[in-house]
Amino acid sequence: EPEVTQTPSHQVTQMGQEVILRCVPISNHLYFYWYRQILGQKVEFLVSFYNNEISEKSEIFDDQFSVERPDGSNFTLKIRSTKLEDSAMYFCASSTLTAYGYTFGSGTRLTVV
């Protein structure tokens, strides 16, 4: 069964450093997403991406965040200057908007120290 692959699985970074989280969506999917989940809390929408541009972004997705699909297979989330409150599990998802719904990756646990 096709999978969404995320790397790394866990990243520890110093406050103020830049991090890039990587995702390889399912190859025939056209819509890509990032969600995050702060420990013990609900999953929150960050951004959606379609046709090489952002479709929608949440209030959380401020100027410190950016997304890119650099080579037609990877989908990346960059946090420019990490804060302690960015510590969370970040999930990538992809979709074809059909009845099959969304496929989530296994997540990247980001810890900012």
């Binding site: 999953v43 959606s48 929608e56 999930f91 969304y102 296994s106």
Partner: protein
């Protein structure tokens, strides 16, 4: 702003018992998903409900959707320990054109005790 409310948030039940988790949402949608999450793991898709009156069953779990009442239920029959996990409902809403996004409930932490 769409609100998705799950209850209960915590559920401790004995093996063999039945229980229902409720998911209410505040805006029109006919696409609702249920996910299971084990500690530290990803979101495993359980059910995709795409129309009013949809009912799906997999093993001891059954999900239904009433779009008029804006309510979905996840019913657990004869619970077993392996069902212990956090269960999320998520409502899929169109925000214009082909833009959809999921809004999740807070999750129900289910613990099944022997």
């Amino acid at each position: 702003e769409l609100k998705v409310e799950q209850n209960p948030l915590f559920l401790s039940m004995q093996e063999g018992k039945n229980y229902t988790i409720y998911c209410n949402y505040s805006t029109t949608s006919d696409r609702l998903y249920w996910y299971r999450q084990d500690p530290g793991k990803s979101l495993e898709s359980l059910f995709v409900l795409l129309s009013n009156g949809a009912v799906k069953q997999e093993g001891r779990l059954m999900a239904s959707l009433d779009t008029k009442a804006r309510l979905s239920t996840l019913h657990i029959t004869a619970a077993v320990h392996d069902l212990s996990a956090t269960y999320f409902c998520a409502v899929d809403v169109n925000s214009g054109g082909s833009n959809y996004k999921l809004t999740f409930g807070k999750g129900t932490l289910l613990t099944v005790n022997p």
